[in-house]
Symmetry: C2
Subunit: 420 residues, 2 copies
């Protein structure tokens, strides 16, 4: 194994098309062997323990039931390879210089893929990661939910000014009884639901994880056992359309609208509208809740190459070769500076200040950039001006390290863009 | 929906390449809707209830964790279409005439695909089945396990005369401590383990289902929680190498040997050695146990077209176009009449008399034929003399109906062959 030959922190920078080997810190014994020794076994209960996180995030479907996002019968379209770059050093906000190896190690990186002008200029994975095996996207899933909604709005099949309950009457008595589709897409619908991921007693930790099927119900649990049951129980809390508060239940409500309007699972829609036309490398998948419903607030897994291909299509105003995959109206609205200004979110919502948030996408202050972010350090960064697309997968445990990782990743992306 | 327009029992026989619509009897409301109504929801506990069986067998990965058998980056190779046939009527053993619509309905058919001389001459699915979505294979999985073992034996990496415990020392104290690889492959290793699928108190129902992760552990369960733990606990029962008794734990023991020898999951081996070179339509998958180990006694799901393609390769002595996928030595041994005679099993082991069993394949009395069979009516029938390959998926509930279905299916395949 190459990893064993490399001192920690050393980064191979090859000039050819082979993916590079990123420095790894995860325990290589977790879930290896036939069978893995009991002490190194990952279960639904222990999946997010720090020692297990890397394996979990690279093998979600071995832990949880899932539904396929099929790539269809055609061959994979190879991504063009450009001249490879050296990763730059960059400054942290206090001026400290962060060298690239340090960045990759401290953010618990699993994969990094950088495209410029539609060509791969950097691609690296930790040694135990199979580039063809989907990695969890966590909340980057939300951005797919938002994009699907944007497409259906553009087609006139969803009216963004209608309340969610117009499409899903089951939610009439909940926070979404009066919240509009657009307020929900921008996380400005007011719902009594506490998404403090660090607090084990928060609603997100106590209910969402169980309702979505991620965790087994704890002893004496009397909460909802499916995502939609959870949504039905969440009451309104204040006035809709005011402040932004990040809550993973909003994309689940939007996914319900999408399925009700189309009669399809989002997994099937993403397959037909995005995965099949883009010539993806691999089937992606979404984990499902106990009712068999796709978890569209965070359940998707995909390969880095496929996310890069997806990002490149968005950078090209929704085009892939001769085909318009997503209407340019939908992508333009995301990249426009006016959206960012109109939908500014409080500083602290993301690791760096000045962001907006729209249709489940993060809008950085520079404009011309959109970002999807997911828990434990999953990122898709698309910059129209620099003509870059950056995908990063990581296994950063929630806590102070994760806050640092979010900041370093965001700063690194800006520095990479600055070269173009 | 086409099914709604068709009176039950009517079969569309189209002369073109579109799959035909088979008569359906399953409840179309099960697991439909977003979310499905609670009364129509399938859980791990209720998955094999008669009303749920059809949905379960067509959607295993939505209920259970799984590992992919990837088809790789290439395009699907289209199967050639031949002149379509009318399905024949045939006689039951008491001389009663069985019309084809009656056969398909009474055996709870989900899919039927017939190839002759490498071309599809019949292809039909019940209306709610997506031909590109894998269907469970149940014990047809065993035949893949046996084929992998046969290939590794041919390569000299496994010695069929060595005891299983030579490769897996963990099994030294179990039935497989002294049983050889070949005795295990032929289900002639003597293990105290009761595989009476109809008896809810049998070992297979009480332990194997829980250990393999199919069913949640019942209240007070103190049995094994992974397949290999179950194997370690099963003692020898009499002399090895004598009578044939069908037991699903044997392929699990062989799969353990395969993984120990290759350092790979069978899922990966099947992908690299079979799925990728054959240009399959879809990723297949295997469900996994709580330790993440593929259930090689019954966990695979695949599409009918991909199983037909696999069967056609075996019919062609392991060749697919210019490539030798499986050594001809391995396939010839399965099809040889001498193997059938030497490895004859008691009448009653299969629905019709005169069978042999070898390397987890069923060997019908006629010779030149091999069959893989799986619970609830999954079949792959390959006839070298008639140059046919038949795949059938069904959802026949275990019980007298299932015994009837096994017999009717076997008789139907013979009648279809008789035309060539």
């Amino acid at each position: 194994m190459l990893r064993k030959l490399l001192p920690l922190g050393l980064l191979l920078l090859a000039a050819n098309a082979s993916p590079q080997v990123l420095p790894a810190s995860a325990d290589p014994a977790v879930m290896t062997g036939f069978p893995p020794p009991p002490a190194k076994r990952v279960t639904r209960k222990t999946q997010v323990d720090a020692a297990n996180l890397h394996w979990t995030l690279t093998h979600m479907r071995i832990l949880l039931p899932s539904i396929a996002i099929r790539r269809g019968p055609q061959a994979t379209e190879e991504l063009p390879i450009g001249r490879s770059i050296d990763l730059p050093a960059f400054e942290d906000i206090d001026g400290t210089l962060v060298r690239p190896e340090e960045w990759l190690l401290r953010t618990h990186s699993d994969a990094l893929l950088i495209m410029h002008d539609g060509k791969i200029i950097f691609e690296g994975y930790v040694a135990d990661m199979d580039p063809a095996e989907p990695h969890t996207m966590q909340s980057m899933t939300k951005s797919f939910t938002g994009l699907l909604a944007g497409m259906l709005i553009d087609e006139g099949r969803i009216d963004p000014q209608k309340p969610i309950s117009f499409y899903v009457p089951e939610l009439a008595g909940s926070a979404w009884g009066k919240a509009t589709v657009q307020q929900t897409l921008d996380m400005r619908a007011a719902v009594r639901y506490d998404e403090d991921i660090k607090n084990s007693n928060s609603d997100v930790r106590r209910y969402y994880g169980v309702a979505a099927g991620l965790f087994p119900p704890p002893e004496g649990y009397d909460g909802p056992l499916s995502i939609y049951e959870l949504l039905e129980r969440l009451p309104q809390d204040g006035a809709h359309g005011k402040g932004f508060i990040y809550k993973s239940v909003h994309p689940e409500a939007i996914a319900w609208v999408i399925s009700r309007v189309t009669g399809q699972s989002p997994a099937k829609l993403i397959s037909e509208r995005i995965w099949q036309p883009l010539g993806m490398t691999a089937d992606a998948y979404v984990t499902v809740d106990p009712a068999g419903i796709a978890m569209m607030g965070g359940g998707m897994s995909a390969t880095a190459r496929d996310l890069a291909r997806f990002g490149e299509m968005l950078r090209q105003r929704g085009r892939h070769g001769p085909r318009q995959i997503v209407p340019a109206r939908v992508t333009d609205r995301l990249f426009s500076a006016s959206a960012r200004t109109a939908l500014a979110v409080p500083d602290g919502s993301w690791a760096l200040p000045g962001y907006g948030y729209h249709d489940f996408w993060w809008l950085p202050p520079e404009g011309d950039i959109i970002e999807a972010h997911g828990g434990f350090g999953q990122h898709l960064h698309i910059n129209r001006r620099a003509r870059t697309v950056i995908v990063k997968f990581s296994s950063a445990p929630i806590g102070p390290e994760y806050d640092l990782a979010k900041r370093l990743d965001t700063l690194a992306f800006r520095k990479i863009d600055a070269a173009f």
